[in-house]
Symmetry: C2
Subunit: 451 residues, 2 copies
């Protein structure tokens, strides 16, 4: 028979079992951490009507989207989890309670140019808090604590949550009489990290046609750095000249004030006036998160406050605040950097039973007992030489191998080999179980990410 | 601004938060149970090259598949998890260890005619054990124990795993000289439950042109019922007339023999000679699982043994055994039948904190402490009347509400209301935490499914 060559599409991550276990562990931590903060899981379809997904329209989205006909229907695959959330809240709003807090971890699709480390199918892990008409500033203060907790539980230490407020930026540009150009200015200033202050100044006075004075004011403003308190104090010097600025500063002060109570250490948080986020729909606090030792990766968790989640679907005003982790890319980058802990178990089972008797009943009974005790157990029943069986155990990386021959069965004991230390014990079931449990608990102690 | 009407496509399940929590709980049980048996999680792309997905080609699949062009690429959405597994094993076989045991819970797509209870996007939850060249019969005996454990952990009691062996059927039809028609005969016999023996006889002698004698032999054969031992004894009466039959009977006897050791009670398991499974690729043991009180639902977990997983991609012989649960449909049917336990918590949080002070620091600190203790906590900071806040707590179904006013803060206590009993306590943090933990443990005791 002629064969079809098996292949996986370029830009689609397909992992071998061991790295898949690492990714599952990360997802599990994200789910649990998000749930700890009172977010409910949602799952929306991957396919939506194109009209619904493209309600906002325009730009890169339309070029990258996977869109197709099925019968009469014009369909598309979701390219993020925000538009489906907007649709969900607009559609089911009457059945929801506000503030509505949801998390969603799901695949999204963008037909980008294939490139190393760029994915066309990738997981996003989002949380959003949606208010009905209003949403208290305390929610914006809570977000950094969720980012902090998530990355800490993953095992990261050297990361920084960088926070700004769009009202401060908008207010500042209004002071300079540059409101209409503020979008372009912010996009330019956003490049500061990448191209440096001189090139930013060049773009401001060149492309954007600002005066030297205005460009100087802007560069002085975004050069305000120091401890959070120092930055806030410097910003207080601008107070009283613009209402929007003043409101933004008060919000930022509130966010900073509650940090410690939310359990976020000062070293993992920085007020950073260069953060603007490209998207036009952010209106208040904005967030980026960078790995201090890997600035080249860029932000691994971004988001912010917006005033109108679902304006394309409903007149109902739905302000919110949310963040998104590009999980597939993060996982890829961590792997590239050698930051995924190789010590954590990735085997499909904790125990592999090798029956040494033709009649399998005792081995099967043992597997049933171990599973009832919560131990992930595989029964190996293939007719192979002993060496081949041990090779299999090595290859899957199972921590314990249990041998069960006639001697053990008649003596009521279990022979159990620790595959790392090589130590082998012959003990009754309960003692073997205890040894296995203790060993597994030790193995589980590390974090997913190591720096 | 003109609005786009928000809508979700017909045939796509989109749940409100409470039922979504119920579905998540089911998925969590499936993941944990599959893992307990030594299966490793896999995640393959939703999109594959059409050529790869349609390697087998033909039939309903081709009509129902979501297929489209993106640039030059001819792409399609997976319609099951078996074809992607075949591709995966053929592609990555050199990096895998055999027997290779994987589970996958993922969405698949079929553009079926829209119909109540039929979904175009739905979850399948599959396990498969793949051998390299050979696979021991003990694996076929283990499968019923996984089905049993899965449904038992979900809370079902009145279900039956029905098992047969295709070799017994093929051997039997060979005895009658009906090998070439055996496929058609099995598909007809498969309808026995739905249309009864007389109509099956009519189809056999009519459409298929069998003699009355052959039809009588077939109906007598599939009428063999009774306890597993009685059925096996009756089958022994046919032994010695056909090699394939004899091999199948020996396999079936092995499967039945190991049942008890695998922890499967006799009442949840039945040898059933009418089970054939429509698919041609099953070659040994086949499985169906029915809910005894809801036979109209049909099989909720089916599968079997096959000889050649990946024959369209590779010459390597990869026999296997697997089962699949149509999770979305099962969830839908359970909901329709009122079998989803309404007692289990579905709130986004365990505790809702209502701060009664303008300064939020004490309330935020309390939320941080509760979260550090593993309690899912939401902080409610919106400016609303007390009654509106309590309405919110009622609506999201949160089990505990904690009030924190100046009095509680200065006394170092916490006021906590049990939203079901209405009982309110004012106690130090540790005692409140203990009360909450005990209450939550009680609430978690039920199973997802109730009969």
């Amino acid at each position: 028979m002629a064969k079809i060559t098996p292949r996986t599409l370029s830009g689609f991550m397909e992992l071998l079992p061991a790295p898949q276990q690492q990714l599952e562990r990360m997802m599990d931590i994200l789910r649990k951490t998000y749930a700890l903060y009172g977010f409910t899981p949602l799952d929306t379809p991957v396919i939506e009507a194109s009209e619904v997904l493209l309600a906002k329209g325009g730009g890169e989205t339309e070029k990258q989207i996977y869109r197709f006909q099925k019968g009469d229907a014009d369909l598309a695959l979701r390219f993020d989890l925000t538009v489906p959330l907007a649709k969900y809240v607009a559609l089911h709003g009457g059945d929801l309670s506000f503030p509505f807090r949801r998390y969603q971890i799901g695949k999204v699709y963008r037909g980008e140019r294939a490139q190393r480390g760029r994915f066309r199918e990738f997981y996003q892990a989002d949380i959003d808090i949606i208010g009905d008409g209003k949403l208290d500033i305390a929610n914006e203060a809570e977000i950094p604590s969720i980012i902090y907790q998530t990355f800490t539980r993953l095992g990261l230490k050297r990361f920084q949550i960088r926070v700004n407020n769009r009202k401060i930026l908008n207010g500042f540009y209004a002071m300079l009489g540059l409101t209409e150009q503020s979008g372009d200015i912010m996009r330019t200033v956003d490049k500061l990290d990448k191209i440096g202050p001189d090139k930013v100044r060049g773009l401001l006075t060149g492309e954007l046609g600002l005066t030297e004075e205005a460009a100087g004011d802007i560069l002085r403003f975004i050069a305000i750095t120091g401890s959070n308190q120092e930055v806030l104090t410097a910003l207080e010097g601008y107070r009283g000249r613009n209402e929007v600025f003043d409101a933004g500063l008060t919000e930022l002060e509130t966010v900073v004030k509650y940090l410690a109570a939310f359990g976020v250490p000062e070293e993992n948080f920085a007020v950073d006036l260069t953060i603007a986020r490209g998207l036009d729909y952010y209106t208040g606090t904005v967030y980026e998160t960078t790995l201090l030792d890997h600035p080249e990766i860029g932000s691994v968790c971004s988001g912010g406050r917006y005033d109108n989640l679902a304006e394309y679907y409903t007149d109902r005003q739905l302000p919110g605040v949310g963040i998104s982790i590009g999980l597939t890319r993060l996982f890829y980058v961590l792997g590239e950097q050698g930051m995924l802990n190789p010590q954590l178990p990735t085997a499909p089972a904790d125990v592999l039973i090798l029956p040494m008797t033709a009649e399998l009943t005792p081995a099967i009974q043992l597997s049933t007992r171990l599973r009832a005790a919560g131990v992930r157990t595989q029964l190996y029943t293939e007719q192979k030489k002993f060496k081949a069986k041990m090779n299999y155990a090595d290859k899957i990386g199972v921590p314990y191998v249990v041998f069960l021959g006639d001697d053990e069965v008649s003596a009521g004991v279990v022979a159990c080999k620790d595959m790392v230390s090589g130590e082998q014990t012959t003990l009754p079931f309960d003692e073997t179980l205890q040894r296995i449990r203790e060993g597994l608990a030790l193995r589980e102690q590390g974090s997913v990410i190591v720096e």
